[in-house]
Symmetry: C2
């Protein structure tokens, strides 16, 4: 079983904090992992990939099978996309070049509909899956990642050459098996859209408010006004999900709120993107959910206001 799981060759498209962490964890578990890099190629080839983890200690992968062109990569059975959702369409050529026939492409991104544009640019023969990472991780320098807590990946099938729910589910379970083999929690979700909505219950309030208020999670969780606002935003997202036909587990928002109280202080990725003057992932995390909920008759008023404010900030930031 274990040797069979280790057989697939894995390619990492976009080796930032997410791609770097999961790639190193998979390589450490014995998988053959190949990393596509751009600006950090030289640094990673020279110094390797370093993970400073509060859970696993200091991990160093060196040498790294690093590439600055997808054309040089061997055909990969699984491609993990860790780049920002703002650039998905542009990734298609690299994915196609690095993909084995019948490859599985797993998009490790937040938000709704992040696979849709990518799907149109991929051949029908490739399986497309989405993955939600429940993890506190950030890039601290070229080839350097700090892992603060968690690591779970929940994944689901988006689209591809097979129609059978049974086969699709077995592919998803195969994906979850990769992460299990690396010692990570992972769940095969029957419904990717619902999994994405569940993740949004966290991302919408914390990514947005941290950016808007230039604050990490601990101060946001310490002030009664922002606590109330986080809860109100979470409740709106739960209502949006319900309007779209996704009945989230009872007490789901409360459990995410409680989980965040136990977390070490965290700088959500959108706030980090804002500080580093990168485009914000507003389309996937705000615009798509707002449009989907509105079409289903639910106007997420606070989420819309947050999106409006963030759009203004983003426009002036790069």
């Amino acid at each position: 079983m274990s040797t069979e799981l280790k057989r697939p060759r894995i390619g990492i498209i976009g080796t930032g904090a997410i791609g770097g962490f999961y790639g190193v964890m998979l390589a450490r578990a014995g998988f053959d992992v190949h990393f596509l890099l751009r600006s950090e190629f030289d640094a990673v080839r020279q110094d390797g990939l370093q993970i400073e983890s509060a859970v696993y200690g200091d991990l160093l992968l060196k040498p790294v099978k690093a590439y600055n062109s997808a054309a040089d990569m061997p055909p990969c059975d699984w491609l993990l996309v860790g780049a920002k959702s703002t650039g998905n369409v542009g990734l298609a050529p690299a994915i196609i070049q690095a993909a084995a026939p019948d490859a599985k492409v797993l998009v490790l991104q937040n938000g709704l509909a992040v696979e849709d544009n990518l799907r149109e640019a991929l051949p029908d023969s490739l399986h497309l899956l989405g993955g939600l990472c429940f993890i506190s991780v950030y890039r601290s320098g070229p080839g350097k990642v700090v892992h603060q807590a968690f690591g779970r990946v929940n994944l689901g099938y988006h689209s591809g050459p097979v129609r059978s729910d049974e086969i699709r589910q077995s592919i998803v379970e195969q994906g979850a098996g990769l992460f299990h083999a690396a010692g990570l929690e992972s769940e095969a979700m029957a419904n990717l859209a619902q999994a994405r909505w569940q993740k949004l219950v966290w991302n919408i309030p914390y990514n947005g408010l941290s950016t808007l208020l230039r604050a990490t999670t601990t101060p946001l969780m310490s002030d009664p006004q922002t606590r109330a606002l986080i809860q109100a935003l979470m409740n709106e997202v739960v209502q949006g999900a319900q309007a779209c036909g996704h009945e989230l587990p009872a007490g789901y928002a409360q459990s995410l709120f409680a989980m965040t109280e136990t977390m070490p202080d965290y700088r959500p990725s959108m706030y980090l993107d804002y500080q580093e003057q990168r485009p914000l992932e507003l389309q996937a995390i705000y615009a798509e959910p707002l449009a989907a909920a509105l079409q289903a008759g639910c106007d997420m008023v606070r989420v819309r206001m947050l999106h409006q404010a963030l759009t203004f900030m983003d426009a002036g930031n790069h």
Copy 2:
């Protein structure tokens, strides 16, 4: 008529941008105006009060009848309070010392219920009025004020020793007459609470969003997302006013929005307070209207969210 209007002696309590501008305009019109100052006393006694006005040109009042203690002021018939609403209770002793018997105290502040705490600290013999200033003005240095546009003061009676609506209205008109004599627009409002709500239709969106987004009015009016948000906030305030029994003139919000488009770029006072690390006037401009509207059955959801975000920012700012 004109000489009779010039008879009242005027005291300015809190000589910032508002107190400085109106005090100089009234002195320029021939009124006997006395200015109470704190940190800027020395500068103003030495260099006078300077208004750099886009409408009236450069105005210099020198020498200034300046005081650093209200005990030294002669008894004033009208006292104009231009200080921040965050410090109203603390102003009562100075007001009492500078007030002639039967004096009129005019609070030139935004927001709701700004007179309530002050009223409790004043003797019953003093008339208390509220004034709303429609003006673009800011303090540029000690004793220096920049006046960009407008100047209208709308005022109404809050409370005092007379019950007769007719007498109250005549006192309000006497107040409006002071500003008319100084060449300024001014309207005697029959209903102070309604006048305050009308002013909030501007202050709630622009003061809050400019602070939240660190932006002056022109960029806020140039982005389609913030334009839509401003209009949504304005509509909520109009609904809040309606719930509290104030039917605002038809098209009132739209006219304020259109007026702001023609304004020179402006930094609302709350944004300026934030930048200079002064406490924000959140109680008067947000908390009081939110509570009043909620009690009347109207939950101003966006206004509440803005208030929550601003409270978080304010708490970390001084």
